[in-house]
Amino acid sequence: MTQYIAAIDQGTTSSRCMIFDPSGSIISIAQQEHRQIYPKPGWVEHDATEIWTNVQQVVHDALRQKDITADQIAAIGITNQRETTLLWDRTTGEPLHNAIVWQDTRTDQLCRELGAGIGQERFRERCGLPLATYFAGPKIAWLLREHPELRARAERGDVLFGTMESWIIYKLTGGTHVTDVTNASRTMLMNINTLRWDDDILAAMDIPRAMLPEIKGSAQTYGTATGELAGVPVASALGDQQAALFGQTCFAEGEAKCTYGTGSFLLLNTGTTPVQSANGLLTTVGYQIGDQAPVYALEGAIAITGSLVQWFRDNLGLITTAPEIETLARTVDDNGGCYIVPAFSGLFAPHWRSDARGVITGLTSYITKGHLARAVLEATAWQTREVVDAMNNDSGVDLTTLKVDGGMTADNLLMQFLSDVLDVPVVRPMVAETTCLGAAYAAGLAVGYWPDIESLRANWHKAAEWHPQMEAATRDREYHNWRKAVERTLNWVEHDSR
C-alpha cells in the first residue's frame, strides 16, 4: 500500500490540506476559506474555532478525494500564516478572543511606547526584528493590557499563547503546547542566537513566560494526531515562508526564493549564522531539522501583493476573478504613466513605515482600467525589486536568479515583468505549492519517509522560466517613477490626529 505525506497549510485566507507522494507530486488538495473579520479600520481578525473546523474538513476532503486512509499517511506536517496571535483557555481548549492577524495594526501606538525612546531597533540585536505591528509579541502585550483579567491566569499557565501552528498542533494532538523555531522567531520574544524565550524582552513587554509554548525544531515528531488522522505522527511545523524556502530546497547558503501570495516574501538562506540587516530586512530562522544546527535567513517581507489584486476584484469590481487581471492588463501595452503603491497598512520591507498609506499616482484622463490593472501587477514587481536591492546590499552578493512560487506565478505577464525589472531570470519550480511541499518535506524527513535533503533536491525541477527583455533605460525610468510614487505614500498618517 502506497504511503503518503500530508501537509496542512493554515493560511491567511484559507486552510488547505495537500497529500504528496514520494516524488513530491501532489495527489490531492482540499481547501476552505475562512472569514476575514474587520472590526475597525486597521484591525483584522480570524475566528480560530472556524479555522480548526475548516482544518478538520480539508483533511477529511483531501483523504476522501483519493480514498486514502489514515494508515497510508506516514506523517503530517503543518505550515501556517505567521505572527497571527491567539490566546486560549488550557482547561476548555477554547479561544479567548478572535485571533489577531499579522496584518492588524492595532498595536501601532503600543509599539511606539515599547520603543522607549530608542525606537524600532530596540530589540533587533536580540530577536532580529524591528518593533512593528506585524509581530506576535506586541499583539500578546496588547491583549493582556486590554483584558487584565487574563493576566493572573496567564501567569499560572492557564491561558496559553500560540501562533496558528501551535493552535493546530494543540487541537490535533489533544493538548501538546509547542511551537517551532521558525514561528517563534516571528514573535520578537525569542533570542535569535540562543533560540530560547528572551527574559529581558518578556519583561519589557510584560508577558508571562508560563503562557508560552515550548520551542522545538521544525522537523521532529511533536506528538500523535487524534481524530480522523488518529495515530499519524505530527512531525513538522514551519512558518509559511520558511516552509516555502524548504519546499524550494534552498538548503545552501546564498539560495533565495520569493513566494507570491496575499503578501510576498523573499527569503535568502544565510547558513548557520544570523546576519543582521542594515537595510530593513528581517533576521529569521529558516529551519531546524531535528536537533541539528539551525539555518538562518534574511527576509524581505512585502505586506500587499496578491491582496492588491483581491482588492481590485472585490472593492473596485473591475474583474470577477483574480486571474482576469492578466486579461485586463493585456488590453493595454503599458501602465500609461500610472503607479499604484499599496501601502494599505503602511509599508513593510525595506521601508517599515507605518505612517504610509496607499496612493494611485499619475492619473490622467488617458488612464483606463487596463492601465490600472497593469499598475496593480507592476506594484508587486517593483516591491520585489526594492527588497532584492536591500538583500544585495546586506549580503554583498548580487542575486543571479530568482526562484518564485505561490499562486501569482500563474500570471505570465507579472512573471515576465518581474524578470524585466530585476534584470535576472525568474524560475518557477514544478510544484508551485512550495509552502505545503516544504511542510511535507520536513515531516517526511522527520519520520524517515525521505532519507536526506539530497533526495529532496532531486525532486526539484524547473517548470517555467522567464528572461529579462526590458531595455535598461526603460527599467531605470520606470524604477525612478515607482520611487517617486513611494515617496508620496509617506507621512500620510499623523499620529497625534488619529
Binding site: 501532489i26 486571474p323 499562486g407 514544478m430 525541477h461 517548470a463
Partner: protein
C-alpha cells in the same frame, strides 16, 4: 402559446447559432440559416450588440457572442483563470510523466496554448504560452474539436499537413474525432511534427462543457519505446484532466 414575443425568439435563435460556431458569422449567413430577411436579422443584431450580447469583428464585419453574454451564463472561462486553476495538476502531470505539459483552448479554429510546464529534466526550454497550434493534427486540438458542435466549420480548408502522418481528409478527421469522443482522449502520432507524440484529454466545467484540453508531448523514442505507447501515459493525462475538471465543478465519476 399566447404572449410569446417573436423578436425575442428570433434573437434567441441568433444567439444559439452564434454559440454553436466559434468563428464569427456574417448577416447573410445568419439570415440564410434562419430563413429570415437580412434587414430583420441586422436589426436584432444591432440591439444585441447594444446590450453587449454580441460583438462585431471590426475587420470582417461578422458577429460573434459578446463578453457580457459569455459572463452571464458562466460559460466563459478566461484562459488565465484556466491556467491558475490547472497549475497544480499540470505540474503533477509533468512530474509523473516526465514530459512537457500544455493546456490549450480553441481560438478561431486553432489551439491557443494557455499554459506550458517544462519537461522536468532541467534542460533549456522556452515557454510557449500564447502560441497558436493547428487543431486537426495535435492531440490538444483533436480533443477540443471532438467536443465542438461544428468542428468542420472552424477548420481551414484544405487541411494542411505539417508532417506526413497528418490527417488531411475531412471524412477521416470526422472518424478520428468520433474515436476521440469514444475513448475520451486523443493521440497525435507524429502528425504535427515528425518524431513527436502527444496525448491529451478534455477539461470540463460544471455543466460538462469542454473548456480546454491538457496533454503531454515528447519524442517517439521516449513515449513509444518498443513500438507501443507508454502504458502509464493515458491514465496520467486523464487523471490530471479529471482533477482539473473536478476543481471546475464537473461532477465526479
Amino acid at each position: 402559446m399566447p404572449g410569446l414575443i417573436q423578436s425575442v425568439q428570433r434573437a434567441a435563435a441568433i444567439l444559439r447559432l452564434l454559440a454553436t460556431r466559434s468563428r464569427p458569422l456574417g448577416v447573410a449567413e445568419l439570415a440564410n440559416a434562419l430563413g429570415l430577411p437580412k434587414t430583420t436579422v441586422h436589426g436584432i443584431l444591432r440591439t444585441l450588440q447594444h446590450v453587449g450580447f454580441v460583438e462585431q469583428d471590426p475587420h470582417s464585419g461578422r458577429y460573434r457572442l459578446g463578453a457580457a453574454l459569455l459572463h452571464l451564463g458562466g460559460s466563459y472561462l478566461d484562459g488565465n483563470e484556466l491556467r491558475t486553476r490547472a497549475l497544480n495538476w499540470a505540474d503533477a502531470l509533468a512530474a509523473r510523466s516526465g514530459e512537457s505539459v500544455r493546456i490549450g483552448t480553441l481560438h478561431e479554429g486553432r489551439v491557443l496554448v494557455v499554459h506550458h510546464v517544462f519537461r522536468p529534466d532541467d534542460s533549456l526550454q522556452a515557454l510557449d504560452v500564447g502560441t497558436l497550434l493547428p487543431a486537426h493534427c495535435t492531440a490538444l486540438g483533436k480533443v477540443l474539436l471532438a467536443y465542438e458542435p461544428d468542428p468542420a466549420g472552424q477548420l481551414p480548408t484544405p487541411l494542411d499537413a505539417p508532417a506526413p502522418a497528418a490527417i488531411t481528409s475531412p471524412a477521416a478527421l470526422k472518424r478520428e474525432l468520433a474515436a476521440v469522443r469514444r475513448r475520451g482522449w486523443a493521440l497525435d502520432a507524429e502528425e504535427s511534427a515528425p518524431g513527436i507524440l502527444a496525448v491529451a484529454a478534455p477539461i470540463r466545467d460544471r455543466r460538462g462543457i469542454t473548456v480546454g484540453a491538457i496533454g503531454v508531448s515528447g519524442t517517439v523514442e521516449r513515449l513509444r519505446a518498443g513500438g507501443t505507447l507508454r502504458a502509464d501515459l493515458v491514465p496520467h493525462v486523464r487523471d490530471a484532466a479529471d482533477s482539473i475538471s473536478r476543481d471546475l465543478g464537473f461532477p465526479d465519476g
